[in-house]
Symmetry: C2
Subunit: 369 residues, 2 copies
């Protein structure tokens, strides 16, 4: 356990006065309290979590916060995407205000993407914004959703259509919490990690090809550098384009079709990361067909995802359903969609395409089969 790889890594998301550290360690949950105190000066903490995570890690986190002189209360929301609702946010507003939340309070999200998105939205909007700390316990949240300040809830019309940009004061990653994460969720998180590599870092991609099995075994000597490199990529992109007006859109690689797969599946039976794996595979193949990506890029990406056990083929919904779904994508501007195309392993760019160009009628590898 004294290997240099197990040293905590500290990165910084550079956003002027909204800058914040990401601290990545192994077995560090019990050291959260002093870091929260130092970063926020908060006198009260409200830990928001879901039942399985609260049960395993709630007491450790709370002991650490209380030990740092922060009065701490826990609020448990139901597990699952349905909790990302205005209804659930309203319940939290009432509960936190009843517990005397004020502007010197901090909201601590302990869990995965659902907890982070909902707790972050509540922190963004309670009293016009209180301090917020992310303690991600899923791989997806560690490599992706806990960094960057996107918060939100779902409404009838779609996912994340209501939300805010609200940067955390601190992201505290304890990689040891992944030991209790179901394998399927681990793989779903890996998909976003592969995404970072394929759009931006050919060396990371090649390293993943070599070390995939050790990573999935959660070998800390592989896991910690993997988390650090992923957070560094996310932090760089967010620093340059906080509100997704340009470069940050590249992080949507695989998401146009991924969102469609999720929506057409009614968000059942498919995890977000799995849908992204499918969407990336499709986007890479289509990028090659359009002459945008270097030949051989798609097969390398698909092979890595498949080797991890992730799905890579579009489910068989009618092409018209896919077309309608991607046309309603909230990232569209006018008629064209900013499709994130692959140029090579390690490089992506946005290309404005019509829905029918993304999903041509006779697409061999596509929805028609």
């Amino acid at each position: 356990m004294s290997s240099p790889a197990l040293q905590a890594h500290t990165l910084k998301v550079e956003l002027g006065e909204r800058s914040y550290p990401i601290v990545i360690g192994h077995g560090t949950l019990s050291q959260l309290g002093p870091a929260v105190k130092a970063r926020t000066g908060a006198s009260r903490a409200f830990v928001i979590s879901v039942p399985p995570v609260a049960k395993r890690y709630g007491a450790t986190v709370e002991r650490s916060l209380v030990g740092a002189g922060i009065a701490t209360r826990r609020f448990v929301i139901p597990d699952g995407e349905r909790s990302k609702s205005l209804r659930e946010a309203e319940k939290l507003y009432a509960a936190l205000l009843a517990a005397e939340a004020d502007r010197a309070s901090v909201v601590v999200a302990l869990g995965g993407g659902v907890v982070g998105d909902l707790a972050g939205f509540v922190a963004a909007t309670l009293l016009r914004g209180v301090a917020f700390v992310q303690v991600p316990t899923t791989l997806l949240a560690m490599v992706d959703s806990s960094v960057g300040g996107k918060t939100g809830v779902n409404v009838k019309r779609g996912k994340n259509l209501v939300g805010a940009f609200h940067q955390p004061k601190l992201v505290w990653i304890d990689a040891a919490t992944l030991k209790t994460l179901p394998r399927r969720e681990l793989l779903a998180g890996l998909a976003e990690g592969v995404k970072h590599a394929v759009i931006r870092d050919p060396k990371l991609f090649a390293w993943l090809e070599r070390e995939l099995e050790r990573l999935l075994d959660l070998d800390p000597e592989i896991l910690l550098p993997f988390l650090a490199r992923n957070c560094a990529i996310k932090a760089e992109v967010v620093s340059r384009d906080e509100r997704e007006s340009g470069e940050r859109m590249l992080l949507n690689f695989g998401h146009t079709l991924g969102h469609a797969v999720e929506a057409l599946s009614k968000y059942e039976g498919v995890l977000h990361g799995e849908a992204v794996a499918i969407g990336m595979s499709y986007a890479a193949r289509r990028s090659e067909e359009l002459g945008l990506a270097a030949p051989g890029s798609a097969v390398r990406l698909v092979a890595l995802l498949a080797r991890a056990g992730l799905p890579t083929e579009l489910p068989r919904f009618p092409r018209r359903a896919y077309l309608e779904s991607i046309s309603a994508d909230k990232k569209k501007r006018d008629a064209r969609i900013r499709f994130v195309a692959l140029r090579a392993i390690g490089r992506a760019e946005t290309v404005p395409l019509l829905a029918s160009e993304i999903l041509p009628a006779l697409e061999r590898g596509g929805a028609k089969r």
Copy 2:
């Protein structure tokens, strides 16, 4: 009508990349469209208003927006404070998304504080933030709530407890719309204007003492400079302290007791500006008693408010009710309340006081009578 006083005034709220102009004119509603286009580049506008304002001014605003090449839809919410709710926000999310709101859309608030606060909150949180333009049609909104980016809704526990800071891209003030504002609402707006003068600008205060009647007659030669000076004060304070961590708190002068009066009246029978007039009168007297304000300050302030026809005495609720109400004020930190005290006509500062120091047991001019 060619007097120099009737020239449009343009001020700027300096907030780096979030800076925006405040344009103050007379009869300028029909020129809104090109300004919105220039400032936002929006292709779609959603005008949010209340029935009486929509009826009088909706068509003019919409014609101007459409003339500037912006597809425009109108959404009318019920008049009154009750519309500042999560329920109403949710209806607007659904309606705007159904009307194809996207990130190139702009939300235009046409009305008073309720419309601005609700529409601003929706703009802040729809798709994690879309462009927002304020077109205030009440004096309160013109001199105060339309500038500064505070948006919010009420929850059971209190007013404005959920919200966001979301700066508009443009504030467009047509003083001619005040002609149709009920006299009582005009006076309520005046109270916030007097507040700006008394906390910051002794010359403005003295000018108000001279010109009060012409102002209340809506003489444009008085009204326009009054609006311009008020917006300039608000803009200066907001530029230096966007998120109310310091100087901006001075704008809460009169609001500690003012909010208590509103809450104890259950927001019925008393307008916000009237409650602020009462709160300012109380705060000025108490500041003198505590030896903080120069003698004679309170009587001058109270005289001006009374001359306008504004209330200046606390309603007779039990002292205990006032104490409880101000202790629950969301601006408190720990036990002490940051009370905004008057030092002289034109100068205020925050003083940390216990609720019992703000409202002493035997207070002559206070709640006990």
